[in-house]
Symmetry: C3
Subunit: 360 residues, 3 copies
Amino acid sequence: MHEFIRNAWYPLAWNRDVDRSLVSRRVIGEDLVVYRTSDGQVAALRDVCPHRLLPLSKGRLRDDDAIECGYHGVTFDSRGACVRVPLQEKPPAAMRVRAYPTHQSMGMWWVWMGEPEKADTSKVFSLPQYSAAGWSYVEGDSLHMKANYLNLADNLCDPTHVAFVHLTTLSNVQSGDIPVHFDSKGSEVVTWRWVMDSPLIPIFQGLKAFDGNVDRWHFYHYLAPCVAYIDFGSALTGTGAPDGNRGDCIQMFACHFITPVDHDTCVQHWLCIKNIPADAGQDRKLIEGLRMAFNEDKRILEAIQENEAKLPDVKPVKIALDASNTRMRRIVDQMLAAEAAEAAVAVPAAATPAATAVAA
Amino acid sequence: MHEFIRNAWYPLAWNRDVDRSLVSRRVIGEDLVVYRTSDGQVAALRDVCPHRLLPLSKGRLRDDDAIECGYHGVTFDSRGACVRVPLQEKPPAAMRVRAYPTHQSMGMWWVWMGEPEKADTSKVFSLPQYSAAGWSYVEGDSLHMKANYLNLADNLCDPTHVAFVHLTTLSNVQSGDIPVHFDSKGSEVVTWRWVMDSPLIPIFQGLKAFDGNVDRWHFYHYLAPCVAYIDFGSALTGTGAPDGNRGDCIQMFACHFITPVDHDTCVQHWLCIKNIPADAGQDRKLIEGLRMAFNEDKRILEAIQENEAKLPDVKPVKIALDASNTRMRRIVDQMLAAEAAEAAVAVPAAATPAATAVAA
Amino acid sequence: MHEFIRNAWYPLAWNRDVDRSLVSRRVIGEDLVVYRTSDGQVAALRDVCPHRLLPLSKGRLRDDDAIECGYHGVTFDSRGACVRVPLQEKPPAAMRVRAYPTHQSMGMWWVWMGEPEKADTSKVFSLPQYSAAGWSYVEGDSLHMKANYLNLADNLCDPTHVAFVHLTTLSNVQSGDIPVHFDSKGSEVVTWRWVMDSPLIPIFQGLKAFDGNVDRWHFYHYLAPCVAYIDFGSALTGTGAPDGNRGDCIQMFACHFITPVDHDTCVQHWLCIKNIPADAGQDRKLIEGLRMAFNEDKRILEAIQENEAKLPDVKPVKIALDASNTRMRRIVDQMLAAEAAEAAVAVPAAATPAATAVAA
């Protein structure tokens, strides 16, 4: 069984961060060379020249979107086919590089790491509010974290940590013991809690005036393996927000796209959609507040990762609030098991090729 | 057999270095969170929250001396008992943290890493001169060293290296071939030599005027596994110092408390007691001289550690002057073997618990 | 079978870089302490005191060329014999250090890492042009590279990479597809190509005026395991250079002496001999140009080394231009196999000593 689910769309890079330079990005343990093609799309090839293993990202991008290896000029087009080997007429059959399907959604380029024929762009995550009228968004960072991606996933199924980790940004101290609920369906787990009759949380202050305390909701949606969005908002207490009456409220969707890099590292790409018009000053303040909050998580998750490496034999002691992230991890395990079972059927034992690991 | 003796008082931290902040310190491979309690004592808990393995030192110290974990607010009192798990009434039985007995002596807080019922504070090292009339002391550093603690222990059973390592501080060049003697009793090894009719050593200069050369003694006491004190002094030649007549002399006790951190690292906490009144200028100079000397040892011991790691198959060639440190290492081995034998009797094979490694 | 050929002269240090200070240098995985002796020669001893494994380079060089260990004063002469152990009359038999034969040639001190009785100084590499009339040379760097030495050796059997790696220094872009030839004899592989009727390469510009394009030759000589020299030059097109008529030409010998440090690291010592008189300004410019070129190689070779470590199962896909470096590697393998076979005959199975690894 692999450590990572392969048949999934993983976040690769913000559209704003891709141009004609060759950049190396690691996704589920594989290095990809990523670049903008002439038609405005994004190409992702395995970042290894099969000839001598030089990363293709050390090479040169030609005008026709092919990459010329920086050592001997072996050249591959954006689909990974070899189009030139200097000093010989025809490339050897094994001289090809795996290309990965990509797709853009919500300002993010996603990459399909599994079997190419299963890549279905309609399955790439997309939230309608991203481009709906009355909504705006701020695009955040690509936060590198020395933490296993599932530890970050735990964090994104978990409204309860907010009262202890994010006192200055996302929480009020009194929310520690308010009940949490969860449910799951398919690959999605939703965990939520309502905090009734409470002051505005720090990062909402100044965005909208309320005439008194608010009722706050926090719905953590996790779509295994690598997408989370947190629907959180506030409406004036007593106006029926829990019953769906949220005409006059602040609502935000904090979206988190997680790239598992390798066992110990991940990247948290985040953006925040809101039912508040774009405003340069407020938006900058919102980004700063969220950046501070997600760095608070990073500090915690990196310290846990260090201790997990030091203490491989210590099993965590479960408590009641672990229920939803335990469910999420079970879903991930089931997805991995299903892939392993399928792979066992698909590959006849004798047919595994030996020397084509770099190729498709 | 473990690498480290467990039933021992190990130096943890200078009293001056402990306050209400949560600090992590590693002793014989275990991370402890250390802090001052309200009653002026020092608490030491295993630095791991059993819930998700976050170090407790990343949490918050409450006014009642309990630590609230920085991730989900699971809270432990200074004895390691869990007093709160948010969102549930009663903590699970396994939710407890090991607490370690501590005791202060000679300005140092010591921690007992073994079976709690064997912790006997009367066994903590103490030298009467530390608080005796006519004596004063300077408290030195906590010198971190990338060296196995037994290599440092070798050094502290060994007057002979002084002539080669400490020419500018503790030695005169001509002492290289003066005979060395040793004896041992229980867990203590004493190694000594007299240097007769010799000039004062550099760090003694200016402390007392002698009308000619001196007779110097150097008695290295090592108390396995982690305490050394070096009784060294000088009296005017011909006044009978070797026969016990030391009425008019300089005498110092350089005390070394060693914390084994892990296989490759230790901390050398040192202080120096002397039969000379406190004097700000002289004391500062003495600290500087000793600091220079112990850093001379550190340079040697770290280079040896690197070579030991590179050359695991090379066995040192023994020479005559190795006799006392060989004895010291045999004592350590016997202590380890005794603990292993006792553990084999104490734990019935089927009763080892599987998932309580973080707990007491 | 060892990783490295032992019976070979390896480059150790430029003569300019050796004096009376004790310097540690690693050659084929062994640390040597290197210093100038009173007679102007260079001594190389294993850099480990057998007593406690302190590097001898941390000790003190005595006027009589013996090294006194910095810990306990055990002392070795420049042939590795122990001449003093403090506190005992006679050193133990095992107290000796391996000394390595050295020899100077072309400004470089070479060290023999194999069986001492096979060290033949007449086999040390030497090029007659180094000291011939009408020739001058520039002595370059000792370039440290995080790359296996055989990957650097590949590079020095390979005129074809020049068109892709060294566009600004050693090449013109159009040479990519010009045929390459090679031949081998004994431990030498020669790989060459002619570039006819072409402009001067960048680093030749300004050295000599030609009335038009030139014919360029590039002969890469590789002498396994660790010496390369590249005979490259240019003569006016149509004057018969390929037929041996090179009366009026620029000719250089770029010499590369490779020290394998360990599996992942090597040092490339280089110098350049030329049929052009010494000239401070031109020579400085030549050094700068070559330095830039060899750093271009370093960038490539270090990136390959990283990928090889990440992808231990990926086998390079061979292409036509690999023929000569494949031959070179086969020669190295044959030399290793021959040494292994000889060792198997020489050492009777029961006679291997256990504790003399530091000694001769």
